[in-house]
């Protein structure tokens, strides 16, 4: 009976153990980042500007924003020249950090639970880290998509409840470019404009 019990217990734990072992370091990477953001930004007593600055530091370090920018621009990346590409990555970085910054106040002490990691298409350099935001009512599923770079990692996408950040931006910007004859400069101006508009609204 005892043996059977042990067996059932092991069987129940098994998938999780195998599941988690795909790349434990990747999980630690995301855990360290989110712990830092929660303690030093979300729970910090600093003012919003300082919080946003700190957040930007973590965010830009952990995310491969140039790669995300490339994916987001899609086919328009190829036709962009170097200056446009650099400009775009810069404004994209500002816009994404700002929009996350605006959501800081939605944080009300939820804990993040890590479930493990998986490889994408058995490629050891492409890792998904699965996590859940433990909200009282219903947990929110968050998947972190990582790219292994030598001994370190970079986040290339964050998928919250089925919705990929990269893919959402890609669709939004592509729709804009489509209606503006693929004019990347217009896109850059518009993203910048949007940023200043929201800042003005907040100040007034």
């Amino acid at each position: 009976m005892k043996k059977l019990f042990t067996f059932i217990l092991l069987a129940a734990l098994m998938p999780r153990i195998v599941f988690a072992s795909a790349d434990e370091k990747a999980v630690l990477f995301v855990k360290e980042l989110t712990d830092n953001v929660i303690t030093n930004v979300l729970e910090s007593k600093e003012n919003q500007t300082k919080k946003e600055e700190d957040f930007k530091k973590y965010f830009t370090q952990a995310l491969d924003l140039p790669a995300i920018g490339r994916f987001v621009l899609g086919r328009y990346w190829r036709s962009a020249d170097k200056e446009q590409r650099d400009d775009f990555v810069q404004v994209f970085m500002d816009a994404t950090t700002k929009s996350w910054g605006d959501r800081f106040n939605l944080y009300t002490g939820q804990k993040l639970e890590f479930l493990g990691s998986r490889l994408m298409n058995n490629n050891p350099d492409q890792i998904y880290v699965d996590s859940k935001i433990m909200d009282k009512k219903s947990p929110v599923e968050v998947i972190w998509r990582l790219q292994k770079k030598k001994d370190s990692y970079k986040i290339i996408d964050i998928i919250i409840e089925n919705v990929s950040m990269a893919l959402t931006y890609r669709n939004e910007y592509n729709a804009f470019l489509q209606s503006h004859n693929g004019d990347i400069n217009a896109l850059i101006t518009q993203i910048k404009q949007k940023g200043t508009d929201t800042r003005k609204n907040e100040e007034s």
Binding site: R70, R75, E172, I191, K194
Partner: protein, 264 residues
């Protein structure tokens, strides 16, 4: 029954107008791939209906949701939302069965009984607290499980984002909600519609903050709403929505090549 007929006629009219207005198909291969991935051949008309819905939202639904938030404390809203989700359990139960999720259907039934009795008509979600989580589902998801394709993206007046599958799903939910028949047989049909109305306002209230933030940031809100809807729909056909074996689907939507993450 009159309202149902009205809604049905509305659906039909909607479909007809979709058929007569289509976007031009691009000839450039890259643009064409994008057009196919977006799966929105009726975009010009969809955008018009979207604009109409947004106006309606701005003047009717959003103010109603804000008013609701203003006059009720959080605890009341939680109670209302619990009652509403309890009332949707019979429909979930039917769909759990149709999806061959027998374990889930038993749990759903258990939730309904527990919450209705111990939770005082569903005001308290006792079942979740004792570890029986909700398995909320509907006909759209059942059709997805059965392998029906999505069909093109549609925007339906008053209702919003849809595709062919969810449109049929909605129609099925209208006609096959057990709660509706219970209400009808007891001359309480009107209360069924009241419940539906409260549900719409409560859902909008729950989405106020996140919708605001997307609306504020987006350069093209139509495209943002469309992609969020589609990403959620695509998830359905990938099977179980729990964490294991879920592979975010966008690699398949855009052919691999120099547009991928590993470019350069």
């Amino acid at each position: 029954m009159l309202l149902k007929k009205f809604i049905l006629i509305f659906f039909c009219c909607g479909f007809y107008s979709f058929l007569i207005s289509c976007a031009a198909v691009p000839t450039d291969p890259a643009a064409r791939r994008e057009y196919e991935a977006t799966n929105d051949p009726f975009e010009p008309l969809n955008r018009k209906i979207f604009a109409f819905n947004m106006t309606l939202d701005e003047y009717v639904l959003e103010p109603a949701a804000r008013g609701y938030r203003f006059i009720t404390p959080k605890i009341v809203r939680t109670g209302v939302s619990n009652v509403l989700s309890n009332l949707s359990e019979p429909l979930t139960f039917v769909n759990n069965l149709l999806q061959f999720e027998f374990q889930k259907s038993i749990e759903t039934l258990g939730r309904f009984v527990t919450n209705s009795l111990l939770g005082i008509g569903g005001i308290f979600d006792v079942a979740s607290n004792i570890g029986v989580p909700s398995h909320k589902t509907n006909f759209s998801e059942t059709f997805a499980v059965w392998g029906f394709g999505e069909g093109p993206y549609l925007v339906i007046p008053f209702i919003g984002s849809a595709n062919v599958r969810t449109t049929f799903g909605m129609a099925a939910s209208f006609f096959d909600d057990p709660l509706y028949y219970v209400a009808k047989n007891n001359d309480l049909e009107i209360w069924y519609y009241v419940k539906e109305g409260v549900q719409v306002v409560a859902d909008r209230e729950a989405g106020l903050d996140i919708i605001d933030s997307y609306k504020k940031d987006s350069l093209d809100f139509y495209a943002t709403v469309r992609t969020i809807f589609q990403q959620n729909q695509r998830k359905l056909t990938e099977g179980d929505t729990s964490q294991e074996n879920t592979t975010p689907s966008y690699e398949f939507d855009f052919p691999a090549g120099d547009e991928e993450f590993d470019a350069e």
